[in-house]
């Protein structure tokens, strides 16, 4: 491994340093091996590494063609996701980048199309088949592979004819294809960044363009994207002069995404005041940086509360102890230049308890705050082991459970088989391998994650604000494209793959 730092365990920081002077293929291989060996562990680290890698990949791509760029990213993403399928943050970032590329491409295809009425096919929205509300059509998240898979092949192939013929195709196919074509209003991922278009035109658009745009799907704070559906196939037409911009725009978008990753904790902490009052007793689990900064923010606003901190033995207890005693900074960012002060230094009482005491104390807890590893499309979580017990106990005692997670942790995957999503860790952490006979005859199991059902969660706080679990599918719709959920094969390939990418 061409790592220049001698004697240091490979990790996120060494990887980021090596990215600067390695070629692309090496970097990809390096990242894959880090993922496979679990030397790069939690969601945030993986996301940061992935985005840095993809930035380089995009930077090095020679083509101006958006479609080829997409293919390249998909290929890389496929390999990364295959290296460690349970690290969903990797796949999430890949899909976010793909979404950005598609959106940039679409925007460049129709630069003047902010209000132009488009050829669009049909017709006034057919109720029940309305193109404006794909998300409401099925019970599953519209991005469930079943739904997406069924339309996938038609999508890709139907797009060109549709645009060409100005879509006289039957509403059914058009409707379904529209689902894919219909770009979920370009939101959140870019809100904090360069606003994309006339912000105030959303309602106006109902009157002007019944098809294609879906004001109903506008998330609360939304600016509508100007560009539209029914586009000519990407990359086929369009002025060549626009292509120059694509790569640069994509790079800008990726850098915006990077910034989002860095700022996610701060943005989530902004909501701390709304949820924590004086004299509260809060329960938290593991050494999550996000939770610590959330609580620190509340503490800095002069709220005096108590925190019961479970230690998450055996996978996270050392980091938890470190976080409680020394403050954050030792977790995901090993070389973080800031070590935050611990909560206790802000005058907050922190009580360390073993995981087993959760039920005993739950009757006195006012609020539970958790940070997940991944959030799934239906609002359920994969979180550190022990979270399921905590959430169940909270439900029993009617204690609200608040989950803090950046949008990058939100995965379009629907949990069909929850067992597959759980990772099992090193049994040596439970029983040291020196105890040979014990290890030999007794089966030691150390699950690293727990699945927490959406019903047990009361509130999600993401960098976009607070949401009920039932709203998450909408955020998924805003940030990912249906065609990106399955990263396998190429376009047009039998997308019958039921497995989510």
């Amino acid at each position: 491994m061409p790592s220049s730092t001698v004697g240091q365990t490979p990790s996120l920081s060494t990887y980021l340093k090596s990215l600067k002077h390695n070629d692309i293929e090496t970097s990809i291989e390096l990242f894959i091996s880090l993922l496979k060996r679990r030397q790069i562990r939690n969601s945030r680290s993986c996301a940061i590494a992935t985005i840095s890698l993809l930035l380089r990949v995009v930077g090095e791509v020679r083509t101006r063609d958006a479609q080829q760029l997409i293919e390249r990213i998909r290929a890389v993403g496929r390999r990364l996701v295959a290296a460690q399928p349970r690290e969903m943050a990797v796949g999430n970032i890949v899909r976010r980048v793909l979404e950005n590329i598609r959106e940039v491409a679409e925007r460049d295809q129709d630069p003047a199309e902010s209000d132009g009425s488009i050829t669009t096919p049909s017709t006034p929205p057919v109720p029940g088949e309305t193109k404006q509300r794909p998300a409401l059509r099925t019970k599953f998240s519209e991005f469930s592979p079943l739904h997406g898979a069924a339309t996938l092949p038609q999508d890709m192939n139907a797009r060109a004819p549709l645009s060409a013929s100005s879509g006289d195709s039957s509403p059914a196919i058009a409707g379904m294809a529209e689902t894919a074509l219909q770009r979920p209003p370009l939101m959140s991922s870019n809100t904090s960044f360069a606003p994309q278009g006339p912000a105030g035109s959303s309602l106006f658009s109902i009157l002007q363009h019944p098809q294609g745009r879906s004001p109903f799907a506008t998330p609360p704070a939304g600016a509508q994207s100007p560009a539209l559906r029914a586009l000519p196939a990407k990359g086929d037409e369009g002025p060549t002069s626009e292509k120059l911009d694509i790569k640069a725009e994509v790079i800008t978008a990726i850098q915006d995404l990077q910034r989002e990753l860095e700022e996610v904790d701060d943005e989530i902490s902004e909501f701390a005041q709304d949820h924590i009052h004086n004299n509260e007793i809060i329960l938290t689990h593991t050494s999550s940086q996000t939770v610590q900064s959330f609580l620190m923010k509340a503490a800095s606003k002069k709220r005096k509360f108590t925190v019961f901190h479970t230690e998450a033995y055996p996978n996270n207890h050392l980091e938890t102890h470190d976080t409680i005693v020394n403050g954050s900074g030792g977790g995901s960012a090993e070389d973080a230049d800031e070590r935050w002060k611990p909560l206790t230094s802000m005058g907050i009482t922190v009580i360390l308890i073993p995981d087993s005491a959760v039920f005993a104390l739950m009757s006195r807890i006012n609020k539970v705050i958790l940070a997940p590893h991944t959030v799934l499309a239906n609002g359920s979580l994969i979180a550190a082991a022990g979270s399921s017990t905590i959430a169940q106990a909270a439900k029993t005692h009617r204690v609200p459970v608040v989950v803090l997670s950046g949008v990058f942790k939100l995965s379009p995957v629907y949990p069909f088989d929850t067992d597959e999503l759980i990772e099992y860790g090193d049994p040596g952490k439970v029983v040291p391998f020196q105890e040979g006979e014990f290890m030999d005859k007794v089966d030691v199991v150390n699950p690293v994650y727990d699945f927490v059902d959406a019903e047990l969660i009361d509130l999600y706080i993401t960098n976009l604000g607070g949401h009920a679990p039932s709203y998450l599918y909408r955020i998924v719709a805003d940030h990912y494209r249906v065609e990106d959920i399955d990263l396998s094969g190429g376009k047009g390939e039998a997308g019958g793959a039921v497995k989510a990418g």
């Binding site: 033995y313 005693v325 030792g330 070389d335 922190v350 995981d355 005993a360 006195r364 082991a385 007794v442």
Partner: protein
Amino acid sequence: MSEPTKAPEAAQLAEEAKLSPAELKKRAKAEKQARRAAQKGEPGATGVPVPATNGTHEAPKPPKQSGPQEQKAQGSQQKGPPQQKQKQGVQEGKHERTGSIQQPLPTRGMPALAGPVKEVQRKDKKQVELFSHLYTQSRRQDIAGASKNVHPSVVALGFQMSSYEICGSSARCVAMLVAFKEVVQTYVTPSEVSLARDLTSRHLSPQIDFLRSCRPISESMGNAIRWLKKTIVEIDPRTPEQEAKDYLCDEIDRFVRERITVTDQAIAASASALIKDGSVVLTYAKSSIVEKTILQAHANGTRFRVMAVDSRPLFEGKSLATSLMHAGLQVEYLPFSGIAYAVKEATLVLLGAHSMLSNGRLQSRVGTAALAMQAHKADIPVIVCCESVKFSGKVALDSIVLNEVAPSEELLLPKATVSHAPALDRKDDDDEDRQVRSLHDWRDIPGLQILNLMYDVTPAEYIRMVICEYGNVPPSSVPVVHRLANEGIM
């Protein structure tokens, strides 16, 4: 009594700013007299003249503060006038500080007070407030302060209990009774006193107190002690001493045999019938009765496997897993975080008890309630195996009122574990603000507490059945069995 004095005091308030020594002296004398009168009227009462002025100044402050101040004031008041003058001087200097400007004595007392108050606060902060009622007696670390009557075997037993060598309520009960046999044998009845009356109060009580100071006694021990005292009292005073002592020892043997040993066998036989071929038995920590049940089922030839869940800091589940492993069973061992995984596969949950409470709840090792809850949600039957000697007349609604708090140090990991790699990169180790501390420094960190609970209470609705020597009963029958077995009322 305080009201009439408030008015003149209020007037004095206005004059106070003048700071003439003569007036101060006069005021001090008046206050002193009033205080003396107050002392005679209500010793140790709050309010009253000088404290009343205290009150006017410190109305917003909690009355508690004036409490210790007055007591100090009343204490120092008796020292005499010369001190008062000094205090006045001090008082003038500390004019702004306390607000108790008109009261020289408390001001003088304040610095002395500041010490103990602060220390008490610092010490209190290491105790979790919710459980402050459980911190009353810290565990004994050595033999200092023990009564001279404590029998050596009881001393040994006490330390074995506090170091968890003997852990588990049945084991502790039996060990205690065995030690008491020796205690009884060494007892010598003094003249003019009968064994029946004297043994309990003079000889047995110090032993019990010593044991209690090592570790709070369990419910089974409590029931056994009550039974023993009853037996002693019922001894005919005319029996010769040795015969009485032998009788007591035999009775103790009988108690242990009937209520623990034979009972365990009966419960094991009954509960092992619940384990069928292909069962997956889930258990938590180490219960001797559950262990016997499992071994009995294994001896019966049933083919099943066991999942043992464990928790910090005692790791009792590991010793259970080890002993089952040696017996040839197929065992799976999980940390507490693996409960969600465990309930996916388990078909039966067997739990031991510290005690069964009269409202049907189970008091057992901390973590049992969480396991029972998960099992209940997964529709797995939860069976408790519990001898009647552990049944209790107490009731509890939560795990906070009846509990035991163990020393926090037990939760600390041994020091020589991980060396934080990041620490090597840090050049600011010298910087005291960013000193990397470990959990072992928890006492020095203000606001940090460590809570080490020993028990929790599992709601009755999670428990399907309780197996005791009287049969298989639902949790709601616990008070009836308790009456029958422990109080002897049919």
